[in-house]
Subunit: 243 residues, 2 copies
């Protein structure tokens, strides 16, 4: 499994993903699940992936190929597409075409090879947008009412986001929130694992402002995790019992 | 959906369940999902149910019928069974027979009509035991390493239990922990709903020491929920950002 989360805040966007993949519990590996496509100052697009690794990798590879194609067009390249909506459409169509190809080969049409993606970005002159692309290529968009999107093993880490994240949450608090959301997921589900990739995109900068890989032994992350555990225990202690 | 949780602590057992059931999102009702079978001082058994309401109700009704049968035997009645293990076996066999009957009628063998149960209890002279009975009638048991069991929509409320609940957690803290676990679930998933049923069974008492229904407008529960939110926000505020 995977856990990936993106926040769409007034100040910018925060993205976090883990790196664990498994094909059965005895075949566990670490793969990057966060990908940046960017022309700094002009356009930034960050994609998080969850689900089938082969589908995800093939989709990202095809998107990259389309970007590098000498005949790249606004119809094919996410770096030339006229809007972020069009970017989401290209990602969705590519994702679906990869999976469709596999299904035809295997004569299946179930959940085989499914992958889900978060597509976040901004082009110069446009607004920041963030989409959740479903395995069939359709998508939904983050809004003021729902300023975060999650993929993969999302339930363990949702309560903290529900309580903390609002559109006017600061980028600093947003980074704390996604990391604590991930921390709860890591504790409750072994199939989500370190290292983590975090990226921060500031509004209107059209580039990745901060990229941080958090390795398994990261002292700062451990300290944050322990401080949060202590705060939870202390908060728990103070609460009175129900009469 | 449903959320049900049981703690097996050194001091006793704490059980909590919601009451919401739905058949499609426009057919929502409230049904009790916690059932007590008891001969006070001799034996106490509490069952929580999740999943298909018809399977759950039929299973509980058959267990009740078997208890009241003038020819009830240690093989058929959970109030006469020689051990809690045998109780879990009877519950599992009854649950499976109900579902098997439905499947035969419908010629299906998928997930239709599945239900899951927590069976907690103690008989005089025995130890407290708690089982999670699967839809097929097999079961697992809570242990010192894993002193809690959950059924239904369990992921949202697991992180708080992972952090707080140990075998030597007090019954008072256990009640707080299950209620806060439920609170997180209620906030994140509309298909779990008030009112709630909570029961406390003290070790060796062989009866339900406390039963508490928590209605939607319960002031004490609301105050606890708000205090927990405030504690989380305060704890969050204090944590430093990752360098």
């Amino acid at each position: 499994m995977t856990y990936g989360v993106g926040l769409l805040l007034k100040e910018g966007m925060v993205l976090l993903s883990d790196t664990r993949t498994n094909a059965g519990i005895d075949h566990i590996s670490s793969y990057r699940k966060m990908f940046h496509f960017s022309v700094p100052g002009e356009r930034v697009i960050t994609i998080l992936t969850a689900g089938s690794l082969s589908t995800s990798q093939a989709t990202i590879a095809r998107l990259q190929e389309a970007v590098e194609d000498p005949e790249a067009s606004p119809e094919s390249s996410i770096l030339l597409a006229p809007s972020l909506l069009k970017v989401a459409e290209i990602v969705g169509a590519t994702l679906w075409s990869v999976r469709e190809g596999m299904e035809k080969r295997l004569h299946t049409n179930g959940t085989f090879g499914q992958a889900t993606m978060i597509v976040a970005g901004q082009r110069r002159g446009g607004v920041m947008r963030m989409f959740l692309v479903y395995p069939e290529g359709n998508f939904i968009e983050a809004t003021e009412d729902t300023p975060f999107l999650q993929i993969g093993e999302h339930k363990y880490g949702k309560p903290i986001l529900d309580r903390i994240v609002r559109p006017d949450t600061s980028l600093a608090d947003g980074q704390k929130a996604v990391l604590l959301s991930m921390d709860s997921t890591l504790r409750s589900n072994l199939s989500v694992g370190m290292p983590l990739d975090m990226a921060v995109i500031e509004r209107d900068a059209c580039q990745v402002a901060r990229e941080r890989r958090i390795e398994a032994g990261d002292e700062d992350f451990r300290a944050m995790s322990e401080a949060w555990s202590a705060a939870l225990r202390e908060g728990f202690r103070k609460i009175g019992i129900l009469k």
